[in-house]
């Protein structure tokens, strides 16, 4: 046991005073009686059992001495160690992902976790360094080795759960590094499932009431000549649940129905007949459950306007054919010479040529000549080209082809490799001055690339990536994710209006930084002021329901433990230990002693 405020024991000096008070003559009320004849005999009888009588007479004194001793002990701030040696410092990790908003534990999982975190801090021995980590979409250290428990407690109070999935891997990496630097650290994870690393000195406190939750985990749409059809997936933790859902089109109610989830706890709902001119849809679950955040899903369903593509090539049947297969574009052809004079296209495809001044739009350069934009040198013949992972190639499992003659390109800082050979990069893609650019360093005719079945797909995906028809590059934006926009090349001012109606300016300056203020789900509006007038485009942000809505304990797999870097993982042991504060317990004893004292006094009287 350790006394962290031994000065509190000074109160023990009050004990002699109490004894003195009892030693002084007690005040007796004078009362005349006829005779003390009988009382003399009574008092003699009482003296026979003197030891006990004396004890009883003094029991109040004893209780008061005990009371003072306990208070002095409490003031000395005692702690006892529960197991092992005490931890040098403590790391408290609080999961702030969306699932912590669940109310299956009153008032919510996050509030219960915060309360437990506060309790841990309050029971630490004074001066224990505390590191507080917010495990959200990225781990954030809120307090680092702070010995000011009041400050840590205030920080805990301000924590709240967001609409994102936690980044358990990054958090595990952070904890690993902390433990390597300070092995004598106790780590406490406050979460709703076994997130974070495991190992000696690491404990998990799980807040999961297993409540019922329904969620919209997926939503997509299909545009046909007859209109739009939306698919919404409804899932639940409860088998055979009946879930009422509604669909809103452009903010107006369109349809509602009750769906019954079977044994699989999942059902896909199709919404047909949505007007072709609809901009966005919202699906809602019309029943309260323990997690409200995943009960709504949004999708933008507006038709994309066709992109205008100018193909500047002498003759390239492969390219022309491939471009003709790309839906949603209108392809115009010109000679390389005429192309420099032509404006107003969304995408310029230059085959074998490169204009002196790049147009103010996205460009697709095939076998460009030497230029100042990037360096290149001619490579030898006869080698294989390999595909690299890129958004353009995300739908292609594999594309390898043989190249006869190519330029080996020095990938600029703003570019990413698309294809490479033994000699290096032979194709890259990137954003140059806010505009998309794809560069193939070879003549298609010098390769067997057009003969690959996936060649049209590659061309189509490259065109889609280059065209500013879609506002955002990704199919679905989830909360917390940073978004890069495909801006109108003629845009002079760009801002975003969030679902709450607040407008945030992004540009100028150009190019705008990625927009990361996507903490709230809903429909966002990209506002652009262009030379041709203002433009509005919608994009939606949804919660990561498929990750965070499976709120029963069986929803998730294990996360990396210590040893993911190659060390042996040890689970279940706790090297550190807790020091338990005794002050509160002692004060309860004091209260009990006071109650006993009152009882003894009452009965004596």
């Amino acid at each position: 046991m350790t006394l962290y405020s031994p000065a509190g024991l000074a109160l023990l000096s009050a004990i002699p005073g109490i004894v003195l008070l009892y030693m002084l003559r007690q005040r007796f009320i004078r009362q005349e009686v006829s005779s003390v004849y009988l009382w003399d005999r009574v008092l003699r009888d009482m003296e026979v059992s003197t030891p006990w009588q004396k004890l009883k007479k003094n029991i109040l004194m004893i209780l008061q001495i005990l009371c003072v001793a306990l208070i002095a002990f409490a003031l000395s701030n005692p702690y006892i160690r529960v197991t092992g040696k005490s931890a040098g410092s403590v790391v408290i990790v609080i999961d702030t992902s969306m699932s912590m908003q669940s109310t299956d534990i009153s008032p919510s999982r996050i509030e219960a976790a915060k309360k437990e975190a506060s309790r841990i801090v309050e029971n630490l021995r004074p001066g224990t360094p505390v590191t507080l980590v917010d495990m959200g979409d990225e781990p954030v250290i809120l307090e680092n080795l702070s010995t000011d428990s009041g400050r840590v407690l205030r920080c805990i109070e301000e924590i709240h759960a967001g609409n994102y999935a936690e980044d358990a891997e990054s958090t595990a990496s952070l904890i690993n590094s902390i433990l390597k630097a300070q092995p004598d650290t106790r780590v406490v994870f406050l979460t709703d499932y076994r997130a974070g690393p495991t190992g000696p000195g690491i404990e998990h406190i799980i807040f999961n009431g297993g409540g019922t939750n329904h969620a919209l985990t997926h939503q997509s749409f299909l545009r046909t000549a007859q209109g739009v059809t939306v698919l919404t997936r409804v899932e639940s933790t409860e088998a055979y649940a009946t879930v009422p859902v509604s669909l809103y089109v452009n903010g107006e109610i369109f349809d509602s129905r009750e769906v019954v989830l079977g044994d699989s706890r999942r059902v896909d709902v199709y919404w047909d007949g949505i007007p072709a001119d609809a901009d966005y849809v919202e699906c809602r679950i019309d029943i309260k459950d323990s997690l409200e955040a995943d009960n709504r899903a949004w999708s933008v369903v507006s038709a994309e306007k066709p992109g205008k593509v100018l193909l500047a090539a002498e003759k390239n049947m492969f390219l022309e054919k491939a471009l003709s297969l790309v839906p949603g574009i209108e392809v115009y052809k010109s000679t390389p010479q005429e192309a420099e004079e032509l404006h107003g296209y969304d995408l310029y495809v230059f085959d074998g040529v490169m204009p002196e001044k790049l147009p103010d739009a996205s460009v697709f350069l095939i076998n460009p000549p030497a230029n100042d934009l990037f360096k290149a040198h001619i490579s030898g013949e006869g080698f294989a080209a390999r595909m690299r992972e890129h958004r353009i190639t995300q739908h292609i499992r594999e594309l390898s082809f043989n190249v006869g003659l190519t330029q080996v390109l020095e990938t600029p800082l703003w570019g990413d490799v698309l294809f490479e050979s033994e000699s290096g990069c032979i194709a890259f893609a990137g954003k140059y001055e806010g505009k998309g650019m794809v560069v193939l360093g070879f003549d298609i005719h010098d390769t067997d690339m057009p003969l690959q079945p996936v060649f049209p797909i590659f061309i189509a995906d490259a065109v889609k990536w280059l065209l500013p028809g879609k506002v955002v590059d990704v199919e679905a934006v989830i909360t917390g994710q940073a978004v890069e926009f495909n801006l109108n090349p003629s845009a002079v001012e760009v801002s975003v209006r969030n679902p709450s109606g607040e407008v945030k300016k992004l540009a100028p300056p150009f190019p705008p930084a990625p927009f990361d203020d996507t903490g709230n789900p809903g429909v966002y509006t990209l506002l652009q002021k262009t030379a041709d007038g203002p433009e509005e485009a919608f994009f939606t942000v949804n919660v990561p329901a498929s990750r965070e809505s499976g709120i029963d304990p069986a929803g998730y797999g294990e996360t990396p433990g210590i040893g993911s870097s190659g060390e042996e993982t040890v689970k279940g042991e706790t090297a550190g230990s807790r020091e338990v504060k005794l002050q509160g317990l002692i004060l309860w004893f004091v209260l009990a002693v006071l109650v006993i004292e009152w009882w003894v006094y009452s009965n004596a009287v």
């Binding site: 007796f28 009320i29 006829s34 009888d45 009883k56």
Partner: protein, 286 residues
């Protein structure tokens, strides 16, 4: 006198005197009306006529001789001396109701019964020695004098009945002695009773205590002050203490009763709040 003996009380004791009497056992009795007219009775003695006596008993021959009225007494009518010893120590002037009042009222009732029975009444007020007395009271005149004496009785001093009684001038005749006391004395009662038995007395002991002495209702810390000696005793009232007192009280009463039994004395216990009739009836029935 009104405070101690009001008219209601006096009426009560007169009625009691008519319907109740204490008698001397062993063939000696106080005056009683003959039940059989013409029965042979043996002349015993004369005594001077006093108001209230049956005028048919006046011996006119004696009147002719002495020019004083005398009445004849027969064997059955010989007067019995009744001695009432009242504890007049300071401890008796205590209680609620005051024991001194209750004891004097009892004495008045007993005295009235004796006087109605044409017994010779003597009353002694005692503490550790005789304080005052009145003797040879008879008849109605005696009644008034008795009441006056009782009213004027003073209380004080310690209790030592044996010492005090021995100093009293008692007739040698067999008689009745009544002791009225709270018995708070270190002198054993046996000593007192033995002496009175020696003096051929038929004994009645009236043990009187106040409700406060029977069941004290003290609280907290008390300094008890003895009203006779001034001695102090500090006590802290607890449940155990009161239980111990109760035990000691029971033992005390039992010891007095036992002493009376051993000496052939009639024992009557009452508390000062009891109605006088119940006390007297107990005596009459004893």
């Amino acid at each position: 006198m009104n405070e101690l003996f009001d008219s209601e009380f006096l009426d009560k004791i007169r009625r009691l005197a008519i319907t109740s009497r204490i008698t001397v056992s062993g063939g000696m009795g106080g005056n009683r009306k003959s039940r059989s007219k013409g029965a042979s009775v043996e002349f015993s003695d004369y005594r001077e006529y006093s108001a209230g006596d049956d005028f048919r008993r006046i011996d006119w021959n004696a009147y002719g001789r002495f020019e004083k009225l005398f009445i004849k007494l027969f064997m059955e009518e010989r007067e019995a001396p009744v001695n009432i010893f009242i504890d007049a120590s300071q401890s008796m002037k205590w209680g609620n109701p005051d024991k001194s009042i209750a004891s004097r009222r009892l004495a008045a009732a007993l005295g009235c019964m004796a006087l109605s029975n044409y017994d010779r009444l003597s009353i002694f007020a005692l503490s550790d020695q005789p304080k005052s007395s009145i003797s040879s009271l008879r008849g109605r005149q005696g009644f008034a004098r008795m009441l006056d004496f009782l009213v004027k009785m003073e209380y004080g001093g310690k209790t030592a009945l044996a010492d005090a009684i021995k100093k009293c001038k008692l007739k040698n005749d067999r008689g009745i002695s009544v002791v009225i006391s709270d018995m708070f004395s270190d002198q054993p009662l046996n000593e007192t009773l033995k002496y009175l038995r020696f003096r051929k007395q038929q004994l009645y002991v009236f043990h009187i205590l106040s409700p406060d002495e029977i069941r004290p209702e003290f609280e907290s810390a008390i300094s008890l002050v003895d009203s006779e000696t001034g001695q102090e005793r500090n006590i802290v009232v607890t449940e155990d203490l009161l239980k111990a007192y109760s035990r000691r009280y029971d033992e005390f009463v039992e010891s007095v009763r036992k002493a009376c039994f051993e000496q052939g004395a009639e024992y009557v216990f009452f508390d000062s709040s009891a109605p006088i009739e119940s006390m007297v009836r107990r005596v009459a029935g004893a």
